[in-house]
Symmetry: C3
Subunit: 453 residues, 3 copies
């Protein structure tokens, strides 16, 4: 049942399948701080020296995604996937695939834009509890629009081009219409030139992807009489650690104001029980400071007005290398693992066991934390180095236990260090910004029980 439960018509041209992905997680923090935003609004007495809470241990539902998918008239595939984890249910995937030809397919609706390699790996197939900074912090998650894609050159080259609404770094479009009319263009080429051979290179794939758009954010973060604050209307992302704690936010005056481009070279390699995935991503984002918009104390506020002379183009980048090894002899692949022997106490099977390790880091443009003139770290910056960190570097090691094709347990230990983000050592930020303290290292244990069918 790794392929879901299905019904099909006698001629096989119409079919429907019920599938599901369920992940129940537990996060435990030995060390580490919570969201930068929560430094106020909190219980007195629980705060560390830098004003942070400890990150809170918690059980949570990470993904709860019943799926209906199917094929109509042999050529038209559809997929409906709600996301039930989290406070309110939303749609995570809803698209139509028109498979006009293996070399020319059209996908329309809400889907993963064809950009990041690790993102395109299914949420039930990823080797770690959470994806790397490349995927979560820089590249798009889900977007609305249309893509053409297909396999050419003897199925050795996969191409994809898309026109989408556009989402912030790591962003997941909500399904509703956009507040900014500019489209985001995506492109990706991924080659598997040796796939038909039977040598050590047959499992090698590599490619490159990119996105480009213009985006004008609004300083519209406050509640009005008839609509709630929308923290995403500034057109800018926040970034989270491997333990899913926010360590970087732009300042409230900062808005996206112009071009955003991303580029992401990527590769994967599978050989017997060994797997490797590596990816790099750079985003270049034009930002400006603004006034207006946010009326303190509620109310509708005024128009967003860009402060003259504050435009700057910021470049952030991230990369990762991740390896996996199946101890029980199964072949590694981009997809899930089917154990040779299922776990069964009575019959003595132990399932499949896999060890994984990853290094991933993200580095923000140092101009993010300086004013336009480069003379100050404390006034008119795009983000505040004393609350937001400039970089995060994570080592993650883990073990995956595949009880059978459908049930999996995962355990990751993650160690993350930061540059900046935790207040000022002396009284005021010095001219070089070098007296800013580092956010406390994060040591997190991430556990997961998964059912996927």
């Amino acid at each position: 049942s790794a392929n879901g439960f299905g019904l099909e018509s006698a001629d096989g041209k119409n079919a429907i399948k019920l599938r599901g992905l369920f992940q129940s997680d537990y996060r435990s923090y030995q060390d580490g701080a919570n969201d930068v935003r929560n430094r106020s609004n909190a219980r007195a007495g629980n705060l560390d020296a830098n004003g942070f809470h400890d990150a809170n241990d918690t059980a949570l539902l990470r993904r709860v995604r019943p799926t209906i998918e199917g094929t109509l008239f042999g050529k038209y595939d559809f997929r409906f996937t709600p996301e039930l984890a989290g406070g309110n249910a939303t749609v995570i995937d809803a698209y139509l695939d028109a498979r006009l030809d293996p070399a020319f397919k059209i996908r329309a609706g809400k889907y993963k834009p064809f950009v990041g390699l690790e993102r395109l790996q299914g949420g039930g197939d990823i080797k770690f509890v959470e994806r790397s900074y490349v995927t979560n912090a820089i590249l798009p998650n889900r977007d609305l629009g249309v893509s053409v894609y297909g396999d050419v050159l003897g199925d050795k080259l996969n191409y994809a081009f898309g026109v989408n609404n556009g989402v912030v770094d790591g962003g997941n479009a909500s399904g509703t219409s956009e507040f900014d009319g500019s489209k985001e263009f995506t492109a990706r080429l991924f080659a598997t030139p040796f796939k038909d051979e039977t040598n050590a290179l047959s499992g090698l794939g590599f490619g490159i992807a990119g996105t480009t758009t213009n985006i004008d954010g609004e300083r519209n973060l406050n509640f009005t009489d008839t609509s709630a604050a929308d923290a995403t209307r500034n057109g800018l992302p926040s970034y989270v650690t491997d333990g899913q704690q926010t360590f970087f936010r732009y300042g409230s005056a900062t808005v996206a104001d112009g071009k955003r481009t991303r580029i992401a070279p990527q590769a994967s390699y599978y050989y017997g029980p060994f797997g490797l995935i590596t990816e790099y991503a750079r985003v270049k984002q034009d930002v400006s400071l603004s006034t207006g918009g946010s009326a303190s104390g509620g109310g509708s506020g005024g128009n967003t007005v860009i402060t003259p002379g504050t435009s700057k183009s910021l470049s952030h980048d991230a990369w990762q290398v991740a390896v996996s090894y199946l101890l029980t002899g199964e072949d590694a692949s981009f997809r899930g693992v089917k154990p040779k022997n299922n776990f069964d106490i009575d019959k003595g099977g132990w399932g499949a066991w896999e060890l994984v390790a990853r290094y991933s880091e993200i580095n923000l443009d140092s101009d993010t934390f300086k004013n336009k003139a480069g003379t100050s770290f404390s006034a008119n910056t795009y983000a505040d180095l004393s609350t937001s960190a400039k970089s995060a570097k994570s080592w993650t090691a883990g073990v995956n236990w595949y009880l059978n094709q459908d049930v999996k347990a995962q355990l990751n230990y993650s160690h993350t260090t930061f540059d900046g983000g935790a207040g000022v050592g002396v009284t005021a930020v010095n001219a070089a910004g070098t007296n800013i303290r580092d956010r406390q290292s994060e040591n997190a244990l991430l556990a997961r029980l998964q059912v996927a069918f």
Copy 2:
């Protein structure tokens, strides 16, 4: 698979079906302005002379509705339909049908109250991308309650009577309990007197429907410490164009304050490949001005207090005529189209092609924009003519391509003109209100890809 994928028991008395409706839309505006409310709270510099933004081009999910429906013990039908399009998933339909007799059925839960003809046509069967002003702006969409209905006089007369919570014009009840305890009564008669004949009149149907209730709105639009603002508690609607841009809102002091009645004569006609639908609707709504309620700057505010002498009864109306013609020879009907030849590049089939055209308009009571005494357009009016338009008139032309019974592409071009709604030509509103400028005409291209099974 136009009837979904199903399972049934051996005796056929218990059955369940999976169905789905998916619509991925794109909206492009050659001309046209955005929501009246967004005239402030926006990027400076993007605004037109009248303070509007251009309407934003966008891709969006319009309907994403996986459905479970079925029959129990041969007589009891049920239907569960979530709506996954939009920010958060909600329930769009959830009801029980007890088919005690063809002439006496009971429906309870959340459903389309039996009122508007075009509304009762399925969201996957409508001939245009968006329904007309009659349906979207005046008549109810979904409500909670119970209806009895059935076919009598040799199935030539369909009747329906309902008792519901009541919804504002075009409104979709949320599934939760009501803040106003008055019920809305609905009634509808629809005749197809020649349905058993085989002449040019056999496809003719006509009828009339109405609703009546009392509703007292509250001036409670602000956030309180424990609940979010609810823009619908004033008991009044806003109205959108064919391009789905809001062009009319009541003023913040205006609340529903008394009787609301609606009446809607309606007819449809199908003859060979030709189809016609026409409908008129009038709503009469008692309103008053109020003070209190909305405390500026957050906080809980005070009670709603009706300002003495401000009660007025406003009558708005809308109508539409829409025609369709199937070029490929299929028969038109109230339901979907099954092409004679499915689209298939290899075999040379081209599906079914249909041309459609519609005229629809809405006219608001001119008293809406005058004060009680009828002496001023600028103070103590129920809506502001310099931001909200008094009428909208839309021409829509389109083409529908049915690739097969389940997959459809639609393209509509819509041209809308307005009366009022875009600021004052001279310095102040004159006594007659004649110097108010018209909102910019809207020219919109609405495209859709649809899967329905």
Copy 3:
């Protein structure tokens, strides 16, 4: 089809089932007041002498829960249940059951923690329209975490131990991560010692359950620029009547501040057509008063600061006795009823008919309404006796009509009296608090149509 519609693999080890629960309710109040919080923010003129609105009659969707459940590899059960009733869809159940042994099963995800007896009865099987105060007001509803459970001693003793995030009284965890890191431990033992015998005791079951945790609430009730107010972050519940009107809320300065323990002895008894369920629950909650947090007029506010010397431990308790009798001769049980003759007008079947009656009450610690020193009812109390009642006592009588195994109609009449909660008889609260008036008695008619398969 009382067991849903299903598909299974040839060996029966993999199976999936579609199930559904639909409840369309109507609530009508002959007497009774609305939520304590709504005493302001309302239409002037509708208020009673004590500042309350009348409770509003309403139709509503109470439960709309399509469910996908199944079994993988013969041992791993899963269940996905969204709740579509209410404004936004959420997840109500999402868990994995690993049935390693009948005496040792593991459940992980979001589920009903094994605590209350009436809570563990399915929402489609309960004998009354709404559960008692024991269940709705004191014991947990749904939580996130993991439990081990099983049947031992010849299946005569069921045990369960759980570690969960923890929820407030009657609370339903949202699926997202927690703001307070402390775990809640749950335990339950339930014995059916005579189940294998065929005497009058064979239908007897009894047990005891409890929970314990620490919880530090935050005074963080206001909207900030980027997040909405979360009324639950104080870590404290509100309580509703049998008619689902809130009659008790803690004051805005009160926060959970320490230990919370619950204990719940419970028993059920079924003999022929007769059924009985009885349950008691006591919760002991440490609370304190606080300052800070809630900045009036929006804004982010400051840290929660506990006011020294205001800590107190409050004990609230509730109990219920409920009986049911099947007039049509079916056997009563903890689960649903399968009629001997289905309702069928043509064949003359009338379904199954059942009479039910219940007494249930809740009593709050009188210290809740006094200041720390016990000298005042009007200042520095944990809740305000002039708006919140100190106790609620409900008599409920009803009739259930089972048309068949899947379709049910229910009608309950409920009479509730209160102690306190409706203003001050004289000018100011006297020293003993004895001059506080009682909230108006509530007389409610609760009706339901249900489909469950």
